[in-house]
């Protein structure tokens, strides 16, 4: 199923179902009015779009291009790892490590050792500057870990 309208309307209907179930209990009238109206709107427009696309007669256009999903997935996964590891290894250390991994993933040129070391040193300096800026100047309490 590679038509964007169909996929998006199905996903939206799924969201409506999930959120709608949450509203079943524990919400009084004033908290309910607005979300319920929004969910109805979403449900109707998604259903309408779905029906209109299917009923159109011609075959739905296959207009979803999903390039290199593998790379995308890895990049996002690395970011998730970054967030989790922050609480253990501390902000700075995790950032340098994950940054390095990202570099390797993104650019084949970086995989030769000399280039990599040069880049990593630059990265370590850049991250240190940002870290100092945020934690001392802006007083944002960044997660502490093994080094800092």
């Amino acid at each position: 199923m590679r038509n964007s309208d169909i996929v998006s309307s199905v996903l939206v209907l799924a969201i409506v179902a999930i959120f709608g179930l949450q509203l079943r209990s524990g919400v009084t009238f004033f908290g309910l009015v607005f979300p319920r109206a929004v969910l109805w709107g979403l449900g109707l427009s998604a259903a309408g779009l779905l029906v209109a696309t299917l009923v159109r007669g011609q075959a739905p256009k296959k207009d979803i291009e999903a390039p290199q999903l593998g790379t995308v997935f890895l990049v996002l996964l690395l970011m998730a790892v970054w967030i989790v590891a922050m609480n253990w290894l501390g902000f700075y250390v995790t950032s340098v490590v994950v940054f390095g991994l990202q570099m390797l993933l993104i650019d084949p040129n970086a995989r030769n050792p000399k280039a990599f070391i040069r880049s990593i040193v630059g990265v370590a300096v850049e991250l240190a500057v940002f870290y100092v800026a945020f934690s001392t100047l802006l007083e944002v309490p960044l997660p502490r870990g093994i080094l800092f």
Partner: protein, 507 residues
């Protein structure tokens, strides 16, 4: 009069001017960093002003405020991420311009627009504060509801090609905005068992996720280091004056955007985030070639940046005259005033006249300072971003996204939300759904809900229930504006087709 003059004289001392210069630079950087909003930047510096004489402290805060709102345009143009919510609309045309190699041009446009809008707002503040403040008070809950609905009709203009998807996006944004504690009644909604979600979904994290991450991913997938084409076109000699002339050749756009910004700033609680979107919408409607918006038209950047800087002066109007903050940043400035012993109200203009007029003048000076400082910084930033290799730039942006979304509320949940929105944003890109309506829904949702439920409560108390939304003069005006805004794209497209058919028949 004499107090005003003495206030102005105090501003024109070397220490104060130097302080304001520093404030302008800091504000620019803070605004350009997604995750540091203008509110945060000002809040961080309030304690530093305690040891300073009140006027100096206020001048510093004012300088930061004005330049932070302007600074948001840098990241909006260069990496498609609004540095502050006031620059959401700048991404619509600013980023395409950057991709076409006209990034420097976009920065110039943003700078000139911001300075002009800022000055307009300050002039309104200096000379029209009392009557304008009264206008602000006419807005009660039903009016806020209609303002929000009017804002949402922008979706119709932005997404005229795929209206249903735009509506779905907007509704999705509204839904995400309801996560957390209901504004009326305090019910806990959609937290899925996670207490950290009681605080709701934070706007800036969502923006970073929806706008920035998909572009970073695209950058990575494209792989090449040529992210902005044909840089040589964009940087020739004399381009500064050339572009400035182009901006000044749009007086109606500049004037209209400044007025919109000032008025939205005056409305308590509404600030740059709403002003820039409304202004963009109006610019599109007034233009002879609305379909070119979104492809890199300077009109769009002028509209958003002029309006958002005009909200600075506008927002201070109700704050100084009535003690009612016009924008969220004004609430922080209010605290700063109180701590220095200055109470808003009539006394501020009489008893403390020198401080007040000095403050207003200082904002004017700060706005003018933005011109050279902004151009220098923007130039440097543009060169930096366009020349860094992808393998450094992409992770750097990701790093900034994480640190930025954490910095807003010191809440790790916001970072997860940012990542989730990034995934969502990528998905939306594939599914050809525009992310802008989602952010619109998120910005306007709380305003709409509060206005609706509060209005309903008042209406019931008055015995007319839902009728309250249709029986008040300002509401009716807003309803008319909403309907026009909604219907206009279809009417104009229809009339254009008729004209073409007519021309074709005569040929």
């Amino acid at each position: 009069m004499s107090s005003a003059l003495s206030g102005i004289a105090s501003i024109l001392t070397p220490t104060t001017l130097l302080l304001m210069l520093g404030g302008t630079v800091m504000g620019l950087i803070a605004g350009a960093l997604p995750g540091i909003s203008a509110t945060m930047a000002v809040a961080l510096l309030v304690p530093f002003t305690f040891s300073m004489p009140p006027l100096q402290g206020l001048a510093l805060l004012g300088a930061i405020y004005m330049s932070a709102i302007y600074g948001g345009s840098f990241s909006a143009i260069l990496i498609n991420t609004p540095g502050t919510p006031s620059s959401i609309g700048t991404t619509f045309d600013g980023y395409p311009m950057a991709k076409q190699g006209r990034g420097w041009e976009a920065i110039i446009v943003a700078t000139v627009g911001s300075v002009i809008g800022g000055i307009f707002g300050v002039i309104a503040l200096a000379f029209l504060a009392p009557p304008l403040a009264k206008v602000a008070l006419k807005f009660g809950p039903p009016e806020y509801f209609w303002v929000a609905v009017f804002g949402l009709t922008i979706i119709a203009t932005l997404c005229s090609k795929s209206l249903v998807k735009g509506i779905m996006g907007g509704l999705l944004g509204l839904l995400i905005g309801t996560v957390g504690i209901a504004p009326i009644g305090g019910d806990v909604r959609f937290t899925f068992g996670m207490p950290a979600l009681q605080g709701g979904v934070e706007l800036v994290g969502t923006m970073i996720g929806l706008f920035c991450l998909p572009e970073v991913l695209a950058m990575i997938l494209e792989g090449s280091d040529k992210r902005y084409e044909r840089m040589d076109i964009g940087r020739r000699q004399g381009i500064l004056w050339e572009v400035t002339k182009k901006v000044l050749a749009q007086p109606q756009n500049l004037l209209r955007s400044s007025i919109i910004g000032t008025v939205v700033g005056i409305i308590p609680g509404a600030g740059g985030s709403i002003a820039n979107l409304v202004s963009y919408n109006e610019a599109m409607r007034a233009s002879k070639h609305p379909e070119k918006f979104g492809t890199g038209l300077i009109d769009g950047v002028i509209a958003t940046e002029t309006a958002n800087n005009a909200t600075v002066g506008g927002g201070l109007i109700p704050l100084l005259t009535l003690g009612v903050p016009g924008t969220p940043v004004d609430a922080v400035i209010y605290a700063g005033l109180l701590i220095h012993g200055l109470q808003p109200g009539a006394r501020l203009f009489t008893h403390f006249g020198d401080i007040t007029y000095g403050f207003i003048f200082s904002i004017f000076v700060a706005t003018v300072m933005m011109l050279p400082v902004g151009l220098l910084l923007g130039n440097a930033l543009h060169k930096l971003v366009s020349q860094l290799s992808v393998r450094i730039l992409a992770p750097s942006i990701m790093f900034l996204s994480i640190i930025g979304s954490y910095a807003i509320r010191n809440n790790i949940m916001d970072v997860w939300v940012m990542l989730a929105c990034g995934t969502l944003g990528f998905l939306l890109k594939i599914l050809k759904v525009d992310p802008a309506p989602v952010v619109l829904g998120l910005v306007l949702g709380p305003l709409a809900e509060q206005g609706f439920v509060q209005g309903l409560l008042i209406g019931r108390a008055q015995g007319i229930g839902y009728g309250i939304f249709f029986t008040r003069p300002v509401s009716i005006l807003l309803i008319v504006m909403t309907v026009v805004s909604l219907v206009w794209p279809f009417v104009s497209a229809w009339s254009r087709k008729r004209r073409e058919k007519g021309a074709g028949a005569n040929a």
